[in-house]
Amino acid sequence: MFKIISDGGCDFSEKEAKEHGVTIIPFYISLDGENYLKEGVDIKKDDYFKQLLANKKLFPKTSQPSPADYIDEMIPHLKEGLDIIILTVSSHLSGSNQSAVNAAKLMEEEYPQRQIIALDSLSGCIGQGVILRELIRMRNDGLDTLKAKEVTEKIIKNANIYFTLDTLEYLKKGGRIGPTSALVGGLLNLRPILYVEEGKVASLEKVRGKKNAYKLMKEALIEALREEKNNINLSIGHILSEEDATEFKDAIEEALEIKMENPLTEVGATIGTHIGPGALAFAYCKKYENFL
């Protein structure tokens, strides 16, 4: 039996984490560069993004959990005699995985009889979320720790996340695009469709206008999932654009004749700070049974 711990990059709500017995180690956010708040604990996602919208000049900083944050959560479960699997946001996007790896090494010395595994999701937000959901299913179905680790590593390679943005402003603020690209892209109403490849954010296509971006993403998603529609874990996320996300979800469900198991997810600050309010994302992976 193993305990699942994830950093806040997975964007699980408090309710979901509790329901699935997952411990979430939150990221830290600072709006003023001095005081750091725990995401989802000291500041809600909604409030955070509303503050971003209200103050356009604001560019908050995020900070990864420390090894001590992981250790504090690990100790009670290790004492209970449980193994631990930690899933973190991509190591290319945050230092959270390094903190988890360091914490795992320290705990291995104290609890040599326990398996303590820190996995790099090579993804983030709902991409990390779909991997985590499969890990939860494996635990619930009674897979042992090492088998769950082996299968999760295969799922990590199989998982995909794509997203589009409402504004280029936050990519510019985060240094991911230059000022000219942001200016001209804004003038031409360009919406990039981005994805995460081997843990890094990459650009897939640029489309004119939100409507076209959604249309293209819907068509491409339907095409990609058509053959495996009953065999996938699919998740849709958004930042302050619930209406668009619901419409997107309904269209996908109708076209593929499926009923999505996962609720719509509000994307958190870890990825959200870099893409900004109005973003829409989807992620998917094959169910774990395919990798046994």
Partner: protein
Amino acid sequence: MQNFMNSLSGWFLVAQILGLITIGFEFASYQIKNKSKYFLVTGVGSFFWLLMFFSMGMATGMDTQLSLIVAAIYSTFRNLVFWQIFKHNTPKSQEAGLIFLLIMIVVALTAGTFTVLNAPADVRWLHILGLITALGFVVGQYLPGVHYVRISVVFYALVVILTQTPLNILYGDFRWNVMGIAIEGAKILSVIAFYIKYSKEPHKPLIQLSKP
């Protein structure tokens, strides 16, 4: 006929061959959906276009071809820089590409405005049309998707044909520039062929996602 054949220099024949090669590359380029490959093929086409004007200059005198050679250098350089930008597709290359695009627009706008101002008043409108369609084409090349570049090149090619063919209304005389018509016509025909093929293709999304 004999006099006509005698009047043809070797350089003139080379120019015609280079023109035919240009037609091949230009036609092929508008059949390609991938932006990076499109810029490579049209860039090579522009290079042969440049060589054609050079050969024509060698046959008829460089002074008549100089402005066309400059235009072809501009076109080749632009296409090949865009090829590299779209090939690498990184934030840095995109930023550099946009700055390059803006510089190209400013250069074209400056040269075009100068031409418009120096043109006789009765044909100034055609020069303005040329300037607008040329700028539209450069922006269309940069814009995402397969349509903008094809639609904008048709308008640009039509205006170029208007200035180079029996439809020439700039100089008041009918000057056949067969190769000029053929090159621009090839672009238009290629776009028509693309859309005929495109309309018959089973509908596929423009982006392909990784299958799970």
